[in-house]
Symmetry: C2
Subunit: 429 residues, 2 copies
Amino acid sequence: MKNFVLRGNLCTSRTKDRLECIPHGYLVCEGGTSAGMFEELPERFADYPIQDWGDCLILPGLVDLHIHAPQYAFRGTGMDRELLEWLNERAFPEEARYKDLEYAAEAYGIFAENMRASATTRACIFATRHREATELLMDLMEGTGLKTMVGKVNMDRNCPEGLREEGEESLAETRRWIREIKGRYERTDPILTPRFIPACSDAVMRGLGEIQRETGLPVQSHLSENEDEAAWVKELCPWAGCYGEAYDRFGMFGESAPGAGPQTVMAHCVWPAEEEAALLKARGVFVAHCPQSNTNLCSGIAPVREYLDAGIRVGLGTDVAAGCGESVFRAMADAVQVSKLRFKLVRGAGRPLTSAEAFFLGTKGGGAFFGKVGSLEAGYAFDVIVADDRNLARPGGLSVEERLERLIYLSGPEHLRAKYVEGREIFVR
Amino acid sequence: MKNFVLRGNLCTSRTKDRLECIPHGYLVCEGGTSAGMFEELPERFADYPIQDWGDCLILPGLVDLHIHAPQYAFRGTGMDRELLEWLNERAFPEEARYKDLEYAAEAYGIFAENMRASATTRACIFATRHREATELLMDLMEGTGLKTMVGKVNMDRNCPEGLREEGEESLAETRRWIREIKGRYERTDPILTPRFIPACSDAVMRGLGEIQRETGLPVQSHLSENEDEAAWVKELCPWAGCYGEAYDRFGMFGESAPGAGPQTVMAHCVWPAEEEAALLKARGVFVAHCPQSNTNLCSGIAPVREYLDAGIRVGLGTDVAAGCGESVFRAMADAVQVSKLRFKLVRGAGRPLTSAEAFFLGTKGGGAFFGKVGSLEAGYAFDVIVADDRNLARPGGLSVEERLERLIYLSGPEHLRAKYVEGREIFVR
């Protein structure tokens, strides 16, 4: 692994409230890890080659805690629906097509290439229930150079014929999947992926809990996205005090003790029961806040301010295709915007998020799910993007902080000049 | 004026609920006006040159009913504020700089070029209170080829020293402005622009009302954007039953009788008093719905469904820089999205807007403020954009309607291939 230095306007989150910016600073990569941000380059790095990015912004790579690869093909269409209707009419029929490996190769090929070209360096990805297509997706993601977790989905009830696996088969296929990919990838890890409680019988959840304990794998799923869905879970699991408990009962909800694993990320958490927030906190579960998805499917607005105040771990998800695209910058802007509408329209809602907080969520906040990830600070994985905002012309200058805020609101694919993951160059253009 | 034919996938709003799409159809331009949409080219147009746009989408040009040119320079920054704070800390200090014509030339030059390159063909534009800079902006907008209405702003109270004109001076400068530009432009018209009631004394409003009656000019302003602002107007104009009446009293609120003029467009209308909706309807006032601005400034969500059901005229505004950019496609997506949150979070709110309705608002709905504008149908001004969405790759095809929806959510500057205004080519690339 090469050592090198990037020069440019550095900007990273120290804490959720505090940005650190170094105009025309130096960022040092040693063995795939940041050796720190500097105003002047320390003598000890004087031999490292320097890439000077001029007036560009140098930022941590963005982290997407929730995205559905098989829904990417219909992004931006079919939006005039709510969650359960949308699942049945749009998401499920499309996902059923991934039984066909030829289709999967084409569609996942587009997804992987667009993820490579995006500002995202880390992602938690849902595949479908199809083992072979999931392995194909993992092959493709490995090829992008990104670090991702990819899940073969489990679903054995309340879903169409073509997507349902019988419980036994679902578990057997999951075991086979984990066995087959063992040692195959450097950058692509499996993650256990029960779709959501309504689509998973107790038997499948129990079996997945066993697999989790055997393998130590992390877990991703959906939680309290929509009021109707939450009411449905109450019917399906009358024994659970809250939706989160329906996962927890099977050992699929965060850490049984602090530091014990598994790490769990739950998308949405828009309508937490009172005891659910406490359980999220107690189990160290990550919330993948998906503001645009929650808007598009009329789900509502998650109480992110309250989660942050309670010390619950939060990151951002684009949730394609309920979110229309893979931009985590857009997810940051969406997070600020919906928090303002919640503040204005929901009695007792906490104050809106700031752009600095949204940037934290999309970098260091979500990055923690992957370890020391999501910051330019020393000791963090060298996941970095370089953004050139010159085409956002204006008279006079802006501070680095202001340029970051503007990028959150106005970034497009044309602004990205380079991306590195653990010090490895993904593209430079 | 040349006659010609465009071939491609035509899509336009017939009514607010109904799209008309003709795959691989023909759109005929005669003398700057549409001569119709056709599946097969009628014999009588056989001699006209045909530009074949292949699989591109051919759509009406987009209409922006509310944008502040002098705020364009700080778009995407300073968002963590509410309206009155944002005006005092961001908007007013920036606008004060337009006294300096050199600054104005640079900043308005960027604005005009980006408007030219956008999907917008018509716009209602606020300048500042500075007559000379306003004329400069009009010169620049004329050069873009777009058809716009541009307003020298009037403001004589509750605003910083550098922006305030004394009432007499404000009116004299307005008269001088109208006199100086008379006959100067083909495509750029003046529009009377009292900033908003809190910034305009009764004397200025009375004087503007007189100018309106003498000149017949249209009017643009702001209405019921923010609850604090609406309460302030109640204090300032205790004699007005509602905020709209404070304009109406001076003859600055729509048509005194149907068809009598002036045409008025009021931005926002988020918090209408009960009698205000009736007055909007009675006076034929256009509502410029600015969903992103209303979100960014924590103003709220305008009751657009209720306005449409009541037969009130509605179009879209980007409201740069309270909205972060000039894309009216984005304003369409924002309009759908905030309507969903309103539906979900506000008791008694009407059902969400559909993407077809949002497209109507951003084309034919707002276009009506300019006359027969905003449609591809025969008799409408030939304001047309051509969009190439090939880079939104996916396996298999989509209908024209689905591609339109996707463009609303995912369009970027790279998708625009051509723009025509009244049959005149603005760019082809």
